[in-house]
Symmetry: C2
Subunit: 481 residues, 2 copies
């Protein structure tokens, strides 16, 4: 096999080298390319379309809960970062700076936004005067930049795409309610649209967002047992309100600081999607975010081709009219077998095969990306396709959930955790006293970090895995992307 | 009246000061705010939603004609600009430069993209190998930056939002066909969705895009008689293909350069929308891009309030189910008169008034933003609303077209043009010999620029307005934003 042929056809098995598998899959499925700027990537149409489908689902949920979209500047003056101490410390090392523009040196350096709390804080201070202006519920779809040293396509790149919600409220209670509402929207979206089960919980202080009072996250498990933080929602208290003087006149005519929140998910979800559902055949996409949900492949010899194509067109129209994202591959110079492999590699959830024998028998063959194949009557086609897509969606979630459960462990001591990590990877529940030192010790000895403090745990641990003092929380530890 | 009250209620009349009117309207209708970065603006929800509606309409048209979305990096290495001579000369003065990132000085400066021909050219060179890879039809929705000295919200800002299509083709004929196809999509969108009539034509060489062989534009007339370039489509020939080595193996197995196109419209369309349809009452939005198409205002005394609100809710659901963007303003502390003015100022195309007498008589009052008012039977409400929205859309286009015609002139000499501009503003048709010197002379003496060479003209001019040599083209001149 030539080098090129090998490059085109070969996907490293997951069991051999998971990282190599990941890169092989995203390249072969044509989702991305590397850009000629350090740490940046190009979202090719097949990758970008997954993001468009995510956007549509999320945007609808944001609007249904009263949020509106807006757009704030890409550039943030350096002085803005200085106003919130933790925020500047957290983000400063990752900022790119514009120092010249329009042929002149700038008086003040401009950062490219890594997130927009500071810019939006500045604007909210102008817009909010009275309790009547609250709550203010705004979301932004945007590109952001964090200069990364080690990059990985979709999961960690210098520039990425995301949404960032920023809200302001009269009271802590309302702001906390909003923080939880958006966390739940993320959980619902990731579990029911991306078919990825998640652990919902609170970040430990050392892992929270720079400038937040409390950060909450959803954490997903990849097929190599590592974690991906799939979404975060922050209660920011009055930290940014105090830094940017966002005050309102309350119902008693007194000046008060607003309570703010922010929350975001990004194109790293695409990386998670691939690593949760993909296998040695390639990509596997849940129907709800698959750019192509159904691929139709007409088969059989030349003499019956016209008949088969006519029927294919008929079914294509039927499915398309019903709102299904369907495509036909009728290229005559490629074999059905080649096409079957190709669309399995590209993660298309459902394949319809239609040949002369099927026409005779009034039937159609449905083959799912999960390996099931069955024959259905032509008159039932639409209903069967819709039902099968729903089943695939559910089954992908079930499989991912089963995988997560199989790779979830519980330990009482750091030694047990170290022992576990010598041959296994996954989520590990353990008791934690609440001290940063113990958390750090875990990281140092196992490279695992606290993912979050889950809201729901099967069993509350009584002792800290490191110091063996009384446990304050039961925490999920894992190595993470 | 207090300063604040005056600020909130007063819109400068168009006839008094058109620029002041424009700023008053966009501020009062809450479409934007100034950002704390020079030349940048914030798109507030009411302004951004107009852009979202534009995006939806355009994106559908792009996809129906075979284009797919992708996303390319914000940063462009300095060396990329050097590769196309005209391009770098055109854009260099407007570029902001990132010179430091992640705490280090960069080896090569990175420009913030003003447009993406160079980055996309670099990627296309990697992606295109054979004629089988062509045509390559990609669009990008993105932010771009051009450091502007004199800025005007929506119409000219340092950062703005746009879409940029970039396509590559086997032959010049195909690329030129694409250039025209997209120009026609822009014309259709601007005329039939934004209700703005346009002049379609070709830019003169001095006004074309830096790096293009030919640039085509649609030009719209604002209510002050000035022009806004509402969209452009470029045939780039093999200029970028040669600069970035974008070659393909043709059907005879020979290496050829691809022919490329690019085309874009931006958030400046929002500025045009305001200046074409707005009046002394404020904004006026065509139904197809109005975030709120119908505002329902329940009226009447307290004792009938419950009944009226119940009916209002019923109609709200009826209209909403039918896909109409409807809202209800039932705030009890604000008078109907105040609300009427408010929503007229915000440009809502249609108002429904519903009071106790209407309930008794089984009727509803419809009042359009164009000043028409009529009573319809309750049972006809949905049909009447749909019909009225269509009528408003058409009538807004008709009025804008009539305005454009009234302010379109024809001259034979530069003196006539100078004389005309002493008291009038508008589009002026004149003959042009084709020399840059004559075009420049017009600009120097009248501040009018050649907008384009229209595809369709009523009367071909025989002599150049400046040198009186034989005219090569009939050109539209106007002062422009």
């Amino acid at each position: 096999m030539s080098k090129e042929a090998k490059e085109k056809s070969f996907i490293t098995p997951q069991s051999e080298d998971f990282s190599a598998w990941y890169i092989d899959v995203i390249r072969k499925a044509d989702l991305m390319d590397y850009a000629p700027v350090r740490g940046c990537m190009v979202f090719k149409p097949d990758g970008y379309e997954i993001w468009e489908l995510c956007q549509r689902e999320l945007d609808r949920r944001f609007k249904e809960t009263g949020h509106r979209n807006a757009y704030f500047p890409l550039f943030i003056p350096e002085s803005f970062f200085q106003k919130e101490k933790e925020h500047v410390e957290g983000f400063n090392p990752e900022l790119p700076w514009v120092t010249e523009a329009g042929g002149e040196k700038l008086e003040e350096r401009l950062a490219i936004r890594p997130t927009s709390e500071t810019m939006i804080g500045h604007m909210y201070a102008k817009w909010i005067n009275s309790y009547r202006d609250l709550p203010l519920l705004i979301n932004q779809w945007a590109n952001v930049v964090r200069w990364e040293k080690r990059t990985l396509p979709f999961l960690r790149t210098s520039e990425f795409l995301w949404q960032e919600g920023h809200t302001a409220h009269e009271t802590e209670a309302e702001a906390r309610e909003e923080t939880m509402r958006m966390l739940e929207i993320y959980r619902d979206f990731v579990e029911n649209v991306l078919a990825i089960p998640v652990i919902v919980g609170q970040k430990t202080p050392s892992e929270k967002f720079a400038g937040a009072v409390d950060t909450y996250s959803i954490e997903a498990m990849m097929k190599d047992g590592k974690a991906v933080q799939a979404g975060t929602s922050h209660y920011l208290g009055t930290n940014f309100a105090e830094a940017f003087e966002i005050k309102y006149l309350d119902r008693e005519n007194k000046h008060q600081y607003v309570h703010t929140t922010s929350w975001g998910v990004s194109t790293r979800l695409i990386g998670a999607l691939i690593m949760v559902h993909g296998d040695d055949k390639g990509l596997a996409l849940p129907p709800k975010v698959a750019p192509t949900q159904v691929i139709m492949i007409p088969i059989g010899p030349q003499k019956t081709r016209e008949q088969v194509l006519a029927k294919t067109d008929e079914y294509y129209e039927l499915l398309k009219q019903a709102g299904i994202r369907v495509r036909v591959d009728d290229r005559p110079d490629l074999s059905p077998g080649w096409k079957f492999n190709e669309y399995e590699m590209r993660g298309v959830p459902l394949r319809i095969e239609l040949g002369p024998r099927d026409l005779e028998n009034g039937q159609v063959v449905l083959a799912t990306r999960l390996g099931e194949k069955r024959t259905v009557k032509q008159e039932d086609l639409l209903v069967e396709v819709q039902r099968t897509l729903e089943e695939i969606q559910q089954e992908m979630f079930n499989r991912a959930l089963a995988f997560m459960k199989e790779h979830t462990y519980s330990v009482d001591t750091l030694d047990e955790l170290k022992e576990l990590f010598t041959e296994k990877r996954g989520f590990v529940y353990a008791g934690w006293c609440g001290s940063e030192a113990c958390e750090h010790q875990v990281k140092l000895e196992t490279k695992a970090t606290s993912r979050n403090i889950p809201f729901i745990v099967d069993e509350h641990k009584s002792k800290c895995l490191v110091c063996e003092e009384q446990a304050k929380h039961t925490v999920v530890f894992a190595r993470a992307y």
